[in-house]
């Protein structure tokens, strides 16, 4: 027994030693997804952008509700339909002490298309850029090949590298592998790179010369904890100070824990159901004599009002969602304050079905991914039960995400549940991808596997995407989205609410894009 106590004492001493090494100015964050690379132009996906924002800045930043804010650019304005002018922030220094100028911006934007082996190029943000004109070191004009009213939002996803540090013999300058090793990883951001061990930790230290004020943390350690339970356990045991996205099943327990604080923010991610509207014969609806009931607006409305959105939010999502009646929550761009949410009314739904000629309903299969969105399978099962109640016999086909995407993209589902996060924080992004008539060349309707098509909506959207004036454009977008909603072209279910859990003594104002930004995590005074 005494030797056991001795062992424990030795252990305790060892732990005290390691704990003492960690200063109070250290913040450890448990990430849900690890970035695939530190090269800020390798893979256009949120986990990569998230860590890029620690070390780099963008010309335009997005605030908590995704509104554009000045970043490395102080101001920006369209000079003509095809030219944007950015006035850059003077006096900004890179981590190596060199000055930030328009040269760095041009170097960065030109590097975007040259990064090899990318599983998702950032060219989705530069495709409208035609050429760059450096007026003076702090004034940059970007010429576009088409009117690009959303260009300021595109540049918000393009972190600026240092031309001096990231130049090299390869066509793209410093390669992704070099940047992953920290070679050339020089930005203007609030933190500097220290080390990265893939799968284990990314260590960063504060940039004391940051133009937007010093971050409250001298050292930040980002740790990938992809398993939900492991992430919560790491927070409870004090391994990390803050975690992203605790699982909904643990929320009640975390809420009642006196040592834990939660932060929430309504996200830009809509969970929706898309109904196949490509015409006759229907897919997976065997009992309507070859007629596609989903082409009928009344049937779509019936299916929409048969869903108890509030019930799903309360019972399945444990309150971490908001019932939806639009593509994005108010007040994001292109939304209305008084957007109606389809009321739950199964009696009227039955009546609508009868009016449409289906008094006995029909059979349908609802496809859903299992494990892609929060509680996706459970939500699909709930919707299936609700539809079955009005006589639409629904079977859920829930499969692993890769299989789901494959089935969806090859039009195997008569109805499917999916999610969409509008990274731009305004509705045109969702309209373009989810409900515009599919057109590969124009890049429209890329995720519209239900093949909903309404020429009136397409016309409004295309006009909006040419309109540089903000107010006019947002009005047009709102009209376009109302056309879809009146059509019941797509059934919005809810917006996910992002949750962060952290130890008591910290505050974080959650963000709509579900990103965790260390300099915004503050100790309670």
């Amino acid at each position: 027994m005494t030797s056991f106590k001795k062992m424990v004492a030795v252990l305790a001493a060892a732990i005290a030693f390691t704990a003492a090494a960690a200063s109070a100015q250290e913040l450890k964050i448990g990430l849900k997804t690890e970035p695939s690379s530190l090269d800020p132009q390798y893979h256009a996906l949120t986990p990569n952008l998230q860590v890029a924002f620690y070390m780099f800045d963008t010309l335009v930043k997005q605030n908590e509700s995704l509104k554009p804010m000045p970043g490395l650019a102080l101001s920006w304005k369209p000079i003509s339909d095809l030219v944007w002018e950015f006035k850059l922030r003077p006096g900004v220094k890179f981590h190596d002490g060199s000055d930030f100028t328009a040269e760095d911006v041009v170097f960065t934007y030109e590097r975007v298309g040259k990064v090899p082996n990318s599983p998702g190029l950032y060219t989705i943000y530069t495709r409208q850029m035609d050429k760059f004109e450096i007026v003076d070191p702090l004034t940059l004009r970007i010429h576009t090949n088409t009117p690009a009213p959303l260009l300021p939002l595109d540049v918000a996803a393009l972190p600026i590298l240092s031309k001096k540090a990231a130049s090299g013999p390869a066509p793209e300058g410093k390669t992704s592998a070099e940047l992953n090793a920290g070679n050339g990883l020089i930005g203007t951001g609030p933190f500097k790179f220290v080390s990265w061990q893939r799968g284990n930790s990314l260590v960063l230290e504060r940039n004391d010369a940051y133009w937007d004020g010093k971050a409250p943390w001298a050292k930040v350690i980002l740790r990938p904890l992809s398993n939900n339970t492991a992430r919560v356990a790491a927070l409870l045991s004090g391994d990390v100070d803050l975690i992203e996205d605790p699982p909904t099943t643990d929320l009640a327990k975390l809420k009642s824990d006196p040592k834990i604080t939660l932060a929430r923010a309504v996200s830009n991610r809509l969970i929706y159901i898309h109904l196949d509207q490509h015409g006759d014969p229907p897919i997976g609806i065997p009992d309507t004599n070859g007629k596609n009931p989903l082409m009928d607006r009344k049937v779509r409305e019936a299916l929409s009002i048969a869903i108890d959105r509030k019930g799903i939010v309360d019972k399945i999502m444990e309150g971490v969602a908001l019932p939806a009646g639009d593509f994005l929550p108010y007040p994001m761009g292109g939304t209305r304050k008084d957007t109606p949410i389809d009321p739950y009314d199964p009696a009227r739904a039955k009546k609508l079905l009868a009016e449409a000629g289906y008094p006995n309903g029909f059979s349908i299969t609802l496809g859903a991914p299992n494990g892609r969105y929060i509680n996706d399978l459970k939500v699909a099962q709930a919707v299936a039960a609700m539809w079955s109640r009005i006589g639409v016999k629904t079977e859920v086909d829930a499969v692993a995400p890769p299989v789901f995407f494959k089935n969806r993209d090859s039009f195997k589902y008569s109805a499917y549940l999916a999610g969409w996060g509008s990274s731009t924080g305004e509705v045109s992004n969702a309209l373009k991808s989810l409900v515009a008539t599919p057109d590969k060349l124009k890049g429209m309707g890329t995720t519209n596997s239900a093949r909903y098509s309404n020429p009136a909506m397409d016309a409004k959207l295309e006009e909006a995407l040419r309109t540089v004036d903000d107010a006019k454009r947002e009005a047009l977008i709102a009209e376009a989205s109302q056309i879809v909603m009146a059509d019941h072209g797509l059934l919005p279910l809810h917006f996910e609410v992002s949750v962060w859990a952290m130890r008591k003594g910290l505050i974080y104002e959650g963000r709509a894009d579900q990103i965790t930004i260390a300099q915004n995590v503050k100790p309670v005074k």
């Binding site: 390798y42 090899p116 190029l121 989705i124 799968g199 356990a233 409870l236 045991s237 391994d239 995407f405």
Partner: protein, 363 residues
């Protein structure tokens, strides 16, 4: 008892292979070489078949590009990525390209990370090896004394408790054991008892370079991080060794040489420590070796629960994203590893079994 079936099976497999080595050893050396070459050729065949199956499998499951690209990307951009990754080619041509490159030692680049798949795996290998070795040592330290004790005194209440406990070790799922260890040693006990040290519940501790390989068992922080995941893995393995040690000790005890040793008046310590232990080491070494391979290849669950940056975690992440080059390269490494491991176990067996040594001396 359901738990004992695979155990029996493993021992039989072990004995068979051991027997084969015994024969090879007892005959001339060239036959030994032939035996090794035959083994390696079998391995090559397995690798070819396995890589073809994985290629076809991932093709059937879905499109890796759909899993990795930003949903904002247009069809043109998706197609560009497909061309970059070579996914626009027919599957059979992709496979032939892979085989051709593999013959030159190039196993392709990870779709996700854009780095050589083999490099990613070797980067993660030390972490997994370290965990597997730690759990092996722990399981032997715990399992062997307990098993021998239970074999020597089969009717003592302590032995019965050990055997009952080993059933738990077998049947409790790995992830549950891991989570419980975290809850108890990282959350509950330190909260309840002020002087109780809090054990880290996730990740790998500070590493130092040993001959160019980053290892964590040489630092205090690294050792602390190693305790809970190693214990989780040792839980099952320890139970296996308890049962094996007990069964073989019971087999050895009535043997003539033990009786003879007793008659000679040797001390109990010497009888157990030398005569019994030496003889039960043969099956223990076989099973530990094979179990070690299992741990290295498939510590996936434990690595996930503890966010341990090992190969298993890499494999599961790669499977989820359909990162085919990493999955294929991983399985190639594992097949190769198992072949080598089986060879080593066989050779070790002949070292441990004095009869094999006597026979080879006679020839």
């Amino acid at each position: 008892m359901a738990g004992s079936a695979p155990l029996q099976w493993r021992i039989i497999v072990g004995t068979k292979e051991d027997g084969a080595t015994g024969v090879a050893r007892s005959q001339q050396e060239p036959e030994m070489l032939v035996y090794i070459i035959r083994r390696l050729m079998q391995a090559a065949l397995v690798m070819v078949v396995m890589s073809a199956v994985v290629f076809a499998g991932i093709y059937v499951i879905g499109d890796p590009v759909a899993m990795m690209i930003s949903p904002d990307a247009s069809e043109v951009e998706r197609e560009a990525v497909r061309v970059t990754l070579g996914l626009d080619q027919p599957t059979w041509r992709q496979y032939l390209t892979f085989v051709g490159d593999a013959l030159h030692g190039d196993f392709g680049k990870s779709f996700l990370a854009g780095q050589p798949a083999m490099g990613l795996i070797f980067e993660r290998m030390p972490a997994t090896m370290e965990l597997a070795v730690a759990s092996l040592i722990l399981s032997l330290l715990i399992g062997l004394p307990m098993g021998v004790y239970a074999g020597l005194r089969p009717h003592a209440p302590g032995s019965k408790a050990i055997m009952t406990g080993s059933i738990l070790g077998f049947s409790l799922p790995n992830f549950w054991v891991g989570l419980m260890l975290i809850m108890v040693f990282a959350v509950l006990l330190p909260d309840l008892i002020p002087w109780w040290p809090r054990l880290p519940a996730s990740g790998r501790g500070t590493t130092v370079n040993l001959l160019g390989v980053p290892v964590s068992f040489l630092t205090a922080d690294g050792l602390l991080h190693l305790i809970l995941p190693a214990l989780t893995l040792a839980f099952y393995k320890g139970a296996l060794i308890v049962r094996l040690a007990r069964a073989t000790a019971r087999e050895v005890l009535p043997m003539d040489y033990i009786k003879f040793a007793r008659a000679k008046g040797l001390s109990e310590n010497r009888i157990v420590g030398v005569h019994v232990l030496k003889n039960i080491m043969i099956p223990i070494a076989t099973v530990s070796g094979l179990e070690f391979g299992q741990t290295v290849a498939f510590a996936v669950v434990t690595e996930t629960v503890f966010s341990w940056p090992g190969m298993g975690k890499l494999l599961i992440d790669s499977i989820l994203l359909l990162d085919r080059p990493v999955v294929v390269a991983y399985l190639v490494v594992i097949v190769f590893f198992f072949v080598i491991l089986n060879l080593v176990v066989d050779l070790l067996y002949s070292v441990l079994d004095p009869r094999v040594r006597l026979e080879s001396r006679a020839t």
